[in-house]
Amino acid sequence: MDDLYRDYILDHYKQPRNFGELDPHDLEALEHNPLCGDELGVHIRVKDGRIEDLRFHGHGCAISQASASIASEELKGMELSEVEGLGADWMIELLGIPVSATRRKCALLNLKVVRGAVSGDHAWPT
Protein backbone atom coordinates (compact mmCIF):
# COMPACT_ATOMS: atom_id res chain seq x y z
CA MET A 1 0.00 0.00 0.00
CA ASP A 2 1.11 3.54 -0.74
CA ASP A 3 2.62 5.42 2.26
CA LEU A 4 0.85 8.66 1.50
CA TYR A 5 -2.31 7.63 -0.30
CA ARG A 6 -3.58 5.20 2.32
CA ASP A 7 -7.09 3.84 2.10
CA TYR A 8 -8.51 6.17 4.74
CA ILE A 9 -6.90 9.21 3.05
CA LEU A 10 -8.44 8.29 -0.29
CA ASP A 11 -11.74 7.51 1.43
CA HIS A 12 -11.84 10.99 2.98
CA TYR A 13 -10.78 12.50 -0.37
CA LYS A 14 -13.50 10.76 -2.33
CA GLN A 15 -16.21 11.16 0.31
CA PRO A 16 -15.19 14.19 2.34
CA ARG A 17 -17.09 14.61 5.64
CA ASN A 18 -18.66 17.94 6.52
CA PHE A 19 -18.32 19.43 3.06
CA GLY A 20 -20.81 21.91 1.64
CA GLU A 21 -22.44 25.11 2.85
CA LEU A 22 -23.79 25.80 6.32
CA ASP A 23 -26.46 28.48 6.59
CA PRO A 24 -26.89 30.31 8.79
CA HIS A 25 -23.30 30.41 10.07
CA ASP A 26 -21.49 32.66 12.54
CA LEU A 27 -17.95 32.56 11.21
CA GLU A 28 -16.42 32.09 7.77
CA ALA A 29 -13.10 32.38 5.95
CA LEU A 30 -11.61 31.56 2.56
CA GLU A 31 -7.93 30.86 1.90
CA HIS A 32 -5.74 29.94 -1.09
CA ASN A 33 -2.79 27.67 -1.42
CA PRO A 34 -0.37 29.86 -3.41
CA LEU A 35 1.46 26.77 -4.65
CA CYS A 36 -1.38 25.49 -6.74
CA GLY A 37 -4.18 28.05 -6.58
CA ASP A 38 -6.45 25.66 -4.70
CA GLU A 39 -9.00 27.29 -2.45
CA LEU A 40 -10.71 26.17 0.69
CA GLY A 41 -13.43 27.94 2.64
CA VAL A 42 -15.24 27.18 5.88
CA HIS A 43 -18.57 28.02 7.49
CA ILE A 44 -18.74 27.65 11.28
CA ARG A 45 -21.75 27.73 13.62
CA VAL A 46 -20.87 28.61 17.22
CA LYS A 47 -22.79 27.72 20.41
CA ASP A 48 -21.62 28.38 23.99
CA GLY A 49 -18.07 29.17 22.88
CA ARG A 50 -17.74 25.89 20.96
CA ILE A 51 -17.86 24.89 17.29
CA GLU A 52 -21.34 23.44 17.09
CA ASP A 53 -21.09 22.59 13.39
CA LEU A 54 -18.89 23.37 10.40
CA ARG A 55 -18.68 22.79 6.65
CA PHE A 56 -15.73 23.12 4.28
CA HIS A 57 -16.08 24.05 0.62
CA GLY A 58 -13.61 24.44 -2.24
CA HIS A 59 -11.29 22.26 -4.25
CA GLY A 60 -7.86 20.77 -3.79
CA CYS A 61 -5.63 17.73 -3.88
CA ALA A 62 -6.18 14.48 -1.98
CA ILE A 63 -3.99 15.67 0.87
CA SER A 64 -5.75 19.00 1.36
CA GLN A 65 -9.26 17.57 0.99
CA ALA A 66 -8.61 14.58 3.24
CA SER A 67 -6.97 16.83 5.86
CA ALA A 68 -10.02 19.08 5.94
CA SER A 69 -12.36 16.12 6.15
CA ILE A 70 -10.41 14.41 8.97
CA ALA A 71 -9.98 17.68 10.89
CA SER A 72 -13.67 18.53 10.59
CA GLU A 73 -14.59 15.50 12.70
CA GLU A 74 -12.21 16.61 15.48
CA LEU A 75 -13.14 20.28 15.32
CA LYS A 76 -16.84 19.71 15.94
CA GLY A 77 -17.52 20.43 19.60
CA MET A 78 -14.10 21.98 20.21
CA GLU A 79 -13.86 25.19 22.24
CA LEU A 80 -12.89 28.22 20.18
CA SER A 81 -10.02 29.01 22.56
CA GLU A 82 -8.67 25.51 21.94
CA VAL A 83 -8.97 25.96 18.17
CA GLU A 84 -6.89 29.12 18.40
CA GLY A 85 -4.10 27.14 20.04
CA LEU A 86 -3.96 24.36 17.42
CA GLY A 87 -0.64 24.14 15.62
CA ALA A 88 0.78 22.34 12.60
CA ASP A 89 1.79 19.28 14.65
CA TRP A 90 -1.82 18.65 15.64
CA MET A 91 -2.86 18.41 12.00
CA ILE A 92 0.14 16.39 10.81
CA GLU A 93 -0.31 13.85 13.64
CA LEU A 94 -4.02 13.62 13.01
CA LEU A 95 -3.35 12.96 9.33
CA GLY A 96 -0.99 10.11 10.20
CA ILE A 97 1.02 10.08 6.97
CA PRO A 98 4.53 11.31 6.13
CA VAL A 99 3.92 14.73 4.57
CA SER A 100 6.85 16.13 2.57
CA ALA A 101 7.92 19.77 2.93
CA THR A 102 6.30 20.68 -0.39
CA ARG A 103 2.94 19.13 0.52
CA ARG A 104 2.84 20.59 4.04
CA LYS A 105 0.76 23.55 2.96
CA CYS A 106 -1.76 21.19 1.37
CA ALA A 107 -2.20 19.50 4.75
CA LEU A 108 -2.34 22.74 6.73
CA LEU A 109 -4.68 24.77 4.51
CA ASN A 110 -7.79 23.69 6.42
CA LEU A 111 -6.33 24.69 9.79
CA LYS A 112 -5.28 28.05 8.34
CA VAL A 113 -8.85 28.63 7.16
CA VAL A 114 -10.41 27.58 10.45
CA ARG A 115 -8.05 29.69 12.53
CA GLY A 116 -8.67 32.61 10.16
CA ALA A 117 -12.42 32.27 10.76
CA VAL A 118 -12.10 31.86 14.53
CA SER A 119 -9.39 34.37 15.40
CA GLY A 120 -8.67 36.38 12.26
CA ASP A 121 -5.14 34.95 12.26
CA HIS A 122 -4.26 34.43 8.62
CA ALA A 123 -0.72 33.16 9.16
CA TRP A 124 0.25 29.61 8.18
CA PRO A 125 0.09 27.34 11.25
CA THR A 126 3.52 26.51 12.62
Binding site: D2, Y5, L10, L35, C36, D38, G60, A62
Partner: protein, 419 residues
Amino acid sequence: MTSRPMPQVADSAVLSGVRADFPIFRREFGGRPLVYLDSGATSQKPDVVIEAVAEHLRSHNANVHRGVYALAQEADAAYDGARRRVAAFTGADPQTTIFTKNVTEAINLVAYSWGRANIAAGDAVLITQAEHHANLVPWQMLCRERSAELRYLEVDDHGELSLDALDSELARGDVKLVAFTHVSNVLGTINPVAEMTERIRAAGAVSLVDGAQAVPQMPVDLGSLGADFYGWTGHKALGPTGVGVLHGRRELLEQMEPFLTGGDMIASVDFHTASWNELPYKFEAGTPPIAEAVGLGAAVDYLSALGMERVRAHDQALTAYMLERLAEIPGLRVAGPPDAERRGGLVSFTIEGMHPHDIAELADRGGVCIRAGHHCAQPLMRCLGVSATARASVGVYNEPADIDALVEALIRGREVFGL
Protein backbone atom coordinates in the same frame (compact mmCIF):
# COMPACT_ATOMS: atom_id res chain seq x y z
CA MET B 1 -5.13 -6.91 -23.93
CA THR B 2 -5.54 -4.19 -26.46
CA SER B 3 -4.65 -4.93 -30.05
CA ARG B 4 -3.75 -1.30 -30.64
CA PRO B 5 -0.17 -1.12 -31.92
CA MET B 6 2.33 0.66 -29.69
CA PRO B 7 2.91 4.21 -30.97
CA GLN B 8 6.25 4.63 -32.65
CA VAL B 9 8.52 7.57 -32.14
CA ALA B 10 10.25 9.02 -35.19
CA ASP B 11 13.64 7.60 -34.15
CA SER B 12 15.64 9.46 -36.75
CA ALA B 13 14.58 12.78 -35.24
CA VAL B 14 15.51 11.92 -31.66
CA LEU B 15 18.96 13.05 -30.55
CA SER B 16 21.08 10.21 -29.19
CA GLY B 17 24.05 10.15 -26.86
CA VAL B 18 23.23 13.60 -25.50
CA ARG B 19 22.36 12.37 -22.02
CA ALA B 20 25.97 11.34 -21.34
CA ASP B 21 26.91 15.04 -21.46
CA PHE B 22 24.66 15.80 -18.46
CA PRO B 23 26.20 14.54 -15.21
CA ILE B 24 22.94 14.73 -13.23
CA PHE B 25 21.70 11.67 -15.08
CA ARG B 26 24.33 9.60 -13.31
CA ARG B 27 22.30 10.08 -10.12
CA GLU B 28 19.62 7.68 -9.01
CA PHE B 29 16.45 8.37 -7.06
CA GLY B 30 15.13 5.49 -4.99
CA GLY B 31 17.28 3.10 -6.98
CA ARG B 32 15.94 4.35 -10.32
CA PRO B 33 17.60 6.51 -12.94
CA LEU B 34 16.34 10.10 -13.04
CA VAL B 35 13.51 10.69 -15.50
CA TYR B 36 13.46 14.46 -15.87
CA LEU B 37 10.41 15.88 -17.66
CA ASP B 38 10.47 19.38 -16.19
CA SER B 39 12.77 21.27 -18.55
CA GLY B 40 10.05 23.89 -19.00
CA ALA B 41 10.78 24.91 -15.41
CA THR B 42 14.54 24.67 -15.73
CA SER B 43 16.88 22.64 -17.89
CA GLN B 44 19.65 20.37 -16.69
CA LYS B 45 23.22 21.48 -17.37
CA PRO B 46 25.85 19.80 -19.54
CA ASP B 47 29.41 19.30 -18.30
CA VAL B 48 30.68 22.02 -20.66
CA VAL B 49 28.51 24.64 -18.93
CA ILE B 50 29.40 23.51 -15.43
CA GLU B 51 33.07 23.45 -16.39
CA ALA B 52 32.93 26.88 -18.07
CA VAL B 53 31.51 28.45 -14.89
CA ALA B 54 34.00 26.63 -12.66
CA GLU B 55 36.96 27.43 -14.91
CA HIS B 56 36.00 31.10 -14.99
CA LEU B 57 35.79 31.24 -11.20
CA ARG B 58 38.94 29.16 -10.82
CA SER B 59 41.21 30.94 -13.28
CA HIS B 60 39.75 34.15 -14.72
CA ASN B 61 37.81 35.78 -11.90
CA ALA B 62 37.98 39.58 -11.58
CA ASN B 63 35.37 42.32 -11.77
CA VAL B 64 34.56 43.59 -15.25
CA HIS B 65 34.99 46.98 -16.92
CA ARG B 66 37.10 48.43 -14.12
CA GLY B 67 40.49 46.77 -13.84
CA VAL B 68 43.59 47.59 -15.85
CA TYR B 69 45.47 44.47 -14.89
CA ALA B 70 45.74 41.42 -17.11
CA LEU B 71 43.38 39.26 -15.03
CA ALA B 72 40.64 41.92 -15.21
CA GLN B 73 41.06 42.06 -18.96
CA GLU B 74 40.55 38.31 -19.11
CA ALA B 75 37.29 38.72 -17.17
CA ASP B 76 36.19 41.50 -19.55
CA ALA B 77 36.99 39.34 -22.55
CA ALA B 78 35.07 36.40 -21.06
CA TYR B 79 31.97 38.49 -20.21
CA ASP B 80 31.78 40.46 -23.44
CA GLY B 81 32.73 37.37 -25.41
CA ALA B 82 29.77 35.58 -23.85
CA ARG B 83 27.55 38.47 -24.90
CA ARG B 84 28.73 38.20 -28.50
CA ARG B 85 28.03 34.46 -28.60
CA VAL B 86 24.62 34.86 -26.97
CA ALA B 87 23.70 37.64 -29.41
CA ALA B 88 24.86 35.59 -32.40
CA PHE B 89 22.74 32.66 -31.18
CA THR B 90 19.53 34.65 -31.65
CA GLY B 91 20.70 36.78 -34.59
CA ALA B 92 20.97 39.91 -32.45
CA ASP B 93 23.45 42.77 -32.14
CA PRO B 94 25.67 42.48 -29.01
CA GLN B 95 25.19 46.20 -28.30
CA THR B 96 21.44 45.75 -28.00
CA THR B 97 21.76 42.49 -26.03
CA ILE B 98 21.41 43.23 -22.32
CA PHE B 99 22.18 40.73 -19.59
CA THR B 100 19.52 40.72 -16.86
CA LYS B 101 18.85 38.41 -13.94
CA ASN B 102 16.14 36.49 -15.80
CA VAL B 103 13.31 37.11 -18.26
CA THR B 104 11.18 38.54 -15.45
CA GLU B 105 13.73 41.30 -14.96
CA ALA B 106 13.95 41.81 -18.72
CA ILE B 107 10.19 42.44 -18.94
CA ASN B 108 10.19 44.61 -15.83
CA LEU B 109 12.99 46.66 -17.38
CA VAL B 110 10.81 47.42 -20.40
CA ALA B 111 7.68 48.04 -18.32
CA TYR B 112 9.60 50.45 -16.13
CA SER B 113 11.90 52.26 -18.54
CA TRP B 114 9.91 52.23 -21.77
CA GLY B 115 6.47 51.91 -20.19
CA ARG B 116 6.66 54.83 -17.82
CA ALA B 117 7.83 57.16 -20.58
CA ASN B 118 5.37 56.01 -23.21
CA ILE B 119 2.14 54.82 -21.60
CA ALA B 120 -0.30 57.54 -20.54
CA ALA B 121 -3.90 57.74 -19.36
CA GLY B 122 -6.24 56.52 -22.08
CA ASP B 123 -3.61 54.30 -23.72
CA ALA B 124 -3.99 50.54 -23.81
CA VAL B 125 -1.56 47.66 -23.29
CA LEU B 126 -2.59 44.44 -24.99
CA ILE B 127 -1.46 41.04 -23.71
CA THR B 128 -2.88 37.53 -24.05
CA GLN B 129 -4.82 35.28 -21.70
CA ALA B 130 -1.94 32.79 -21.88
CA GLU B 131 0.75 34.97 -20.33
CA HIS B 132 2.99 33.87 -17.48
CA HIS B 133 2.65 36.17 -14.47
CA ALA B 134 6.06 37.62 -15.47
CA ASN B 135 4.49 39.05 -18.63
CA LEU B 136 1.24 40.05 -16.92
CA VAL B 137 1.80 41.59 -13.50
CA PRO B 138 4.34 44.24 -14.72
CA TRP B 139 1.69 45.45 -17.21
CA GLN B 140 -1.04 45.39 -14.54
CA MET B 141 1.15 47.58 -12.36
CA LEU B 142 2.04 49.96 -15.18
CA CYS B 143 -1.57 50.34 -16.34
CA ARG B 144 -2.79 50.92 -12.81
CA GLU B 145 -0.13 53.56 -12.23
CA ARG B 146 -0.82 55.29 -15.54
CA SER B 147 -4.62 54.89 -15.63
CA ALA B 148 -4.13 52.97 -18.85
CA GLU B 149 -6.24 50.00 -19.90
CA LEU B 150 -4.95 46.42 -19.86
CA ARG B 151 -6.74 44.29 -22.45
CA TYR B 152 -6.44 40.60 -23.26
CA LEU B 153 -6.36 38.68 -26.52
CA GLU B 154 -8.32 35.47 -26.05
CA VAL B 155 -6.93 32.02 -26.68
CA ASP B 156 -9.32 29.57 -28.37
CA ASP B 157 -10.09 25.97 -27.39
CA HIS B 158 -6.89 24.80 -29.07
CA GLY B 159 -4.84 27.37 -27.22
CA GLU B 160 -4.34 29.57 -30.27
CA LEU B 161 -4.61 33.32 -30.74
CA SER B 162 -6.65 34.92 -33.52
CA LEU B 163 -4.86 37.34 -35.84
CA ASP B 164 -8.27 38.85 -36.69
CA ALA B 165 -8.81 39.61 -33.01
CA LEU B 166 -5.37 41.23 -32.92
CA ASP B 167 -6.30 43.33 -35.96
CA SER B 168 -9.52 44.56 -34.38
CA GLU B 169 -7.77 45.42 -31.12
CA LEU B 170 -5.10 47.37 -33.00
CA ALA B 171 -7.78 49.11 -35.08
CA ARG B 172 -9.12 50.74 -31.93
CA GLY B 173 -6.09 53.01 -32.14
CA ASP B 174 -5.21 53.17 -28.45
CA VAL B 175 -2.85 50.18 -28.18
CA LYS B 176 0.71 51.32 -27.49
CA LEU B 177 2.28 47.98 -26.63
CA VAL B 178 1.49 44.33 -27.29
CA ALA B 179 3.24 41.80 -25.05
CA PHE B 180 2.89 38.08 -25.72
CA THR B 181 4.66 34.79 -25.29
CA HIS B 182 6.47 33.08 -28.14
CA VAL B 183 5.69 29.60 -26.76
CA SER B 184 3.08 29.23 -24.01
CA ASN B 185 4.48 27.62 -20.87
CA VAL B 186 1.11 25.97 -20.19
CA LEU B 187 -0.49 25.29 -23.56
CA GLY B 188 2.70 24.76 -25.54
CA THR B 189 1.26 26.85 -28.38
CA ILE B 190 3.83 28.39 -30.73
CA ASN B 191 2.46 31.84 -31.53
CA PRO B 192 2.93 33.33 -35.03
CA VAL B 193 5.41 35.96 -33.84
CA ALA B 194 6.42 37.42 -37.23
CA GLU B 195 2.81 37.80 -38.40
CA MET B 196 1.92 39.47 -35.11
CA THR B 197 4.88 41.87 -34.91
CA GLU B 198 4.26 42.97 -38.50
CA ARG B 199 0.69 43.96 -37.66
CA ILE B 200 1.76 45.59 -34.41
CA ARG B 201 4.45 47.67 -36.13
CA ALA B 202 2.02 48.70 -38.90
CA ALA B 203 -0.35 49.97 -36.19
CA GLY B 204 2.41 52.08 -34.68
CA ALA B 205 2.61 50.00 -31.49
CA VAL B 206 5.60 48.33 -29.85
CA SER B 207 5.93 44.56 -29.41
CA LEU B 208 7.48 42.60 -26.57
CA VAL B 209 7.91 38.84 -26.84
CA ASP B 210 8.58 36.47 -23.94
CA GLY B 211 10.91 33.87 -25.43
CA ALA B 212 11.62 31.90 -22.26
CA GLN B 213 10.18 28.63 -23.64
CA ALA B 214 11.16 29.24 -27.27
CA VAL B 215 14.90 29.96 -27.29
CA PRO B 216 15.85 26.61 -25.68
CA GLN B 217 13.73 24.64 -28.12
CA MET B 218 13.82 26.06 -31.63
CA PRO B 219 15.82 28.29 -33.95
CA VAL B 220 15.10 31.89 -32.98
CA ASP B 221 16.22 34.60 -35.40
CA LEU B 222 15.34 38.05 -34.16
CA GLY B 223 15.78 39.57 -37.61
CA SER B 224 12.92 37.54 -39.04
CA LEU B 225 10.73 37.68 -35.90
CA GLY B 226 10.69 41.48 -35.93
CA ALA B 227 10.02 41.98 -32.22
CA ASP B 228 10.93 45.34 -30.70
CA PHE B 229 11.81 43.67 -27.41
CA TYR B 230 12.56 39.98 -26.94
CA GLY B 231 13.43 38.49 -23.55
CA TRP B 232 14.61 35.03 -22.52
CA THR B 233 16.36 33.33 -19.67
CA GLY B 234 19.57 31.34 -19.43
CA HIS B 235 18.61 28.59 -17.04
CA LYS B 236 15.96 27.10 -19.31
CA ALA B 237 18.52 27.04 -22.16
CA LEU B 238 21.08 24.74 -20.46
CA GLY B 239 22.77 27.74 -18.80
CA PRO B 240 23.08 28.68 -15.13
CA THR B 241 20.41 30.46 -13.11
CA GLY B 242 20.87 34.19 -12.49
CA VAL B 243 21.33 35.34 -16.08
CA GLY B 244 18.66 36.40 -18.54
CA VAL B 245 18.69 38.34 -21.78
CA LEU B 246 16.81 41.29 -23.21
CA HIS B 247 17.21 42.12 -26.88
CA GLY B 248 15.83 45.53 -27.84
CA ARG B 249 15.51 47.70 -30.92
CA ARG B 250 18.37 50.20 -30.79
CA GLU B 251 16.29 53.38 -31.28
CA LEU B 252 14.03 52.40 -28.39
CA LEU B 253 16.87 51.43 -26.05
CA GLU B 254 18.71 54.66 -26.83
CA GLN B 255 15.68 56.80 -25.97
CA MET B 256 14.96 54.94 -22.73
CA GLU B 257 16.05 56.00 -19.29
CA PRO B 258 17.89 53.35 -17.24
CA PHE B 259 15.98 50.81 -15.14
CA LEU B 260 18.31 50.08 -12.21
CA THR B 261 20.97 52.66 -11.49
CA GLY B 262 24.38 52.50 -9.85
CA GLY B 263 27.85 51.47 -10.91
CA ASP B 264 28.91 50.57 -14.44
CA MET B 265 25.84 52.08 -16.10
CA ILE B 266 27.02 55.69 -15.91
CA ALA B 267 29.26 57.78 -18.15
CA SER B 268 29.91 60.33 -15.41
CA VAL B 269 28.37 61.35 -12.10
CA ASP B 270 28.30 64.81 -10.55
CA PHE B 271 26.83 65.68 -7.16
CA HIS B 272 23.35 66.24 -8.61
CA THR B 273 23.41 64.77 -12.09
CA ALA B 274 24.62 61.74 -13.97
CA SER B 275 24.86 60.75 -17.58
CA TRP B 276 24.46 57.28 -18.94
CA ASN B 277 26.92 54.81 -20.35
CA GLU B 278 26.48 53.53 -23.91
CA LEU B 279 24.46 50.44 -24.81
CA PRO B 280 24.23 47.81 -23.48
CA TYR B 281 25.92 48.95 -20.25
CA LYS B 282 23.32 51.65 -19.59
CA PHE B 283 20.98 48.84 -18.53
CA GLU B 284 23.47 46.77 -16.54
CA ALA B 285 23.85 48.49 -13.18
CA GLY B 286 26.22 46.99 -10.65
CA THR B 287 28.44 43.96 -10.99
CA PRO B 288 26.70 41.74 -13.54
CA PRO B 289 26.34 37.93 -13.42
CA ILE B 290 29.78 37.38 -14.94
CA ALA B 291 30.37 33.67 -14.36
CA GLU B 292 26.71 32.98 -15.20
CA ALA B 293 27.00 34.84 -18.52
CA VAL B 294 30.14 32.83 -19.31
CA GLY B 295 28.16 29.67 -18.54
CA LEU B 296 25.36 30.82 -20.84
CA GLY B 297 27.93 31.44 -23.57
CA ALA B 298 29.01 27.81 -23.23
CA ALA B 299 25.36 26.70 -23.25
CA VAL B 300 24.54 28.42 -26.56
CA ASP B 301 27.74 27.01 -28.07
CA TYR B 302 26.62 23.55 -26.99
CA LEU B 303 23.12 24.07 -28.44
CA SER B 304 24.58 25.47 -31.67
CA ALA B 305 26.80 22.40 -31.99
CA LEU B 306 23.71 20.17 -31.64
CA GLY B 307 21.97 22.42 -34.17
CA MET B 308 18.72 24.16 -33.22
CA GLU B 309 16.86 22.65 -36.21
CA ARG B 310 17.74 19.22 -34.84
CA VAL B 311 16.80 20.25 -31.30
CA ARG B 312 13.39 21.35 -32.59
CA ALA B 313 12.91 18.09 -34.52
CA HIS B 314 13.86 16.12 -31.41
CA ASP B 315 11.45 18.03 -29.16
CA GLN B 316 8.67 17.74 -31.71
CA ALA B 317 9.14 13.98 -32.17
CA LEU B 318 9.11 13.39 -28.41
CA THR B 319 6.07 15.66 -27.99
CA ALA B 320 4.18 13.82 -30.72
CA TYR B 321 5.05 10.53 -29.03
CA MET B 322 3.97 11.90 -25.65
CA LEU B 323 0.62 13.09 -27.05
CA GLU B 324 0.01 9.64 -28.54
CA ARG B 325 0.95 7.75 -25.41
CA LEU B 326 -0.96 10.03 -23.02
CA ALA B 327 -4.08 9.36 -25.09
CA GLU B 328 -3.95 5.77 -23.76
CA ILE B 329 -4.78 6.94 -20.25
CA PRO B 330 -8.50 7.03 -19.45
CA GLY B 331 -9.79 10.36 -18.19
CA LEU B 332 -6.68 12.27 -19.30
CA ARG B 333 -7.33 15.59 -21.01
CA VAL B 334 -4.60 17.56 -22.79
CA ALA B 335 -4.69 21.38 -22.93
CA GLY B 336 -3.49 23.28 -25.98
CA PRO B 337 -2.96 22.42 -29.65
CA PRO B 338 -3.75 18.78 -30.48
CA ASP B 339 -0.87 18.54 -32.90
CA ALA B 340 2.88 18.52 -32.02
CA GLU B 341 3.79 20.66 -35.04
CA ARG B 342 2.03 23.60 -33.47
CA ARG B 343 3.50 23.22 -30.01
CA GLY B 344 6.77 23.42 -28.17
CA GLY B 345 8.05 20.47 -26.18
CA LEU B 346 5.58 20.46 -23.34
CA VAL B 347 2.18 18.96 -22.59
CA SER B 348 -0.18 20.11 -19.83
CA PHE B 349 -2.89 17.70 -18.79
CA THR B 350 -5.45 16.79 -16.18
CA ILE B 351 -6.73 13.36 -15.16
CA GLU B 352 -10.31 13.01 -14.01
CA GLY B 353 -10.51 12.10 -10.32
CA MET B 354 -6.92 13.09 -9.54
CA HIS B 355 -5.60 16.49 -8.54
CA PRO B 356 -2.47 17.57 -10.51
CA HIS B 357 -0.44 17.64 -7.28
CA ASP B 358 -1.33 14.03 -6.63
CA ILE B 359 -0.48 13.18 -10.25
CA ALA B 360 2.98 14.74 -9.82
CA GLU B 361 3.51 13.04 -6.46
CA LEU B 362 2.60 9.66 -7.90
CA ALA B 363 4.78 10.26 -10.99
CA ASP B 364 7.66 10.85 -8.59
CA ARG B 365 7.04 7.35 -7.15
CA GLY B 366 8.17 6.11 -10.55
CA GLY B 367 11.17 8.43 -10.49
CA VAL B 368 9.51 10.80 -12.98
CA CYS B 369 9.81 14.57 -12.42
CA ILE B 370 6.86 16.56 -13.73
CA ARG B 371 5.38 19.85 -12.60
CA ALA B 372 1.94 20.50 -11.15
CA GLY B 373 0.22 23.74 -10.27
CA HIS B 374 -0.94 26.90 -11.98
CA HIS B 375 2.45 27.40 -13.72
CA CYS B 376 2.37 31.10 -12.82
CA ALA B 377 -0.56 31.56 -15.18
CA GLN B 378 -3.62 31.81 -12.94
CA PRO B 379 -5.78 33.83 -15.36
CA LEU B 380 -5.19 31.15 -18.02
CA MET B 381 -6.14 28.42 -15.52
CA ARG B 382 -9.48 30.19 -15.08
CA CYS B 383 -9.98 30.24 -18.87
CA LEU B 384 -9.27 26.51 -18.95
CA GLY B 385 -11.74 26.00 -16.08
CA VAL B 386 -9.19 24.32 -13.80
CA SER B 387 -7.16 25.44 -10.79
CA ALA B 388 -4.06 23.58 -11.86
CA THR B 389 -2.65 21.16 -14.42
CA ALA B 390 0.17 18.64 -14.52
CA ARG B 391 2.86 19.42 -17.08
CA ALA B 392 5.54 17.27 -18.68
CA SER B 393 8.20 19.05 -20.72
CA VAL B 394 11.13 17.66 -22.69
CA GLY B 395 14.74 18.67 -23.26
CA VAL B 396 17.60 17.61 -25.51
CA TYR B 397 18.53 14.79 -23.10
CA ASN B 398 15.13 13.09 -23.05
CA GLU B 399 14.46 9.79 -24.76
CA PRO B 400 11.27 7.95 -25.70
CA ALA B 401 11.82 5.67 -22.69
CA ASP B 402 11.25 8.71 -20.43
CA ILE B 403 7.77 9.13 -21.91
CA ASP B 404 7.13 5.41 -21.40
CA ALA B 405 8.17 5.79 -17.73
CA LEU B 406 5.75 8.70 -17.34
CA VAL B 407 2.86 6.77 -18.86
CA GLU B 408 3.63 3.74 -16.69
CA ALA B 409 3.76 5.91 -13.56
CA LEU B 410 0.45 7.57 -14.46
CA ILE B 411 -1.23 4.20 -14.99
CA ARG B 412 0.06 2.97 -11.61
CA GLY B 413 -1.02 6.29 -10.05
CA ARG B 414 -4.57 5.79 -11.28
CA GLU B 415 -4.54 2.35 -9.68
CA VAL B 416 -3.46 3.84 -6.32
CA PHE B 417 -6.48 6.12 -6.57
CA GLY B 418 -8.72 3.17 -7.37
CA LEU B 419 -9.53 4.58 -10.81
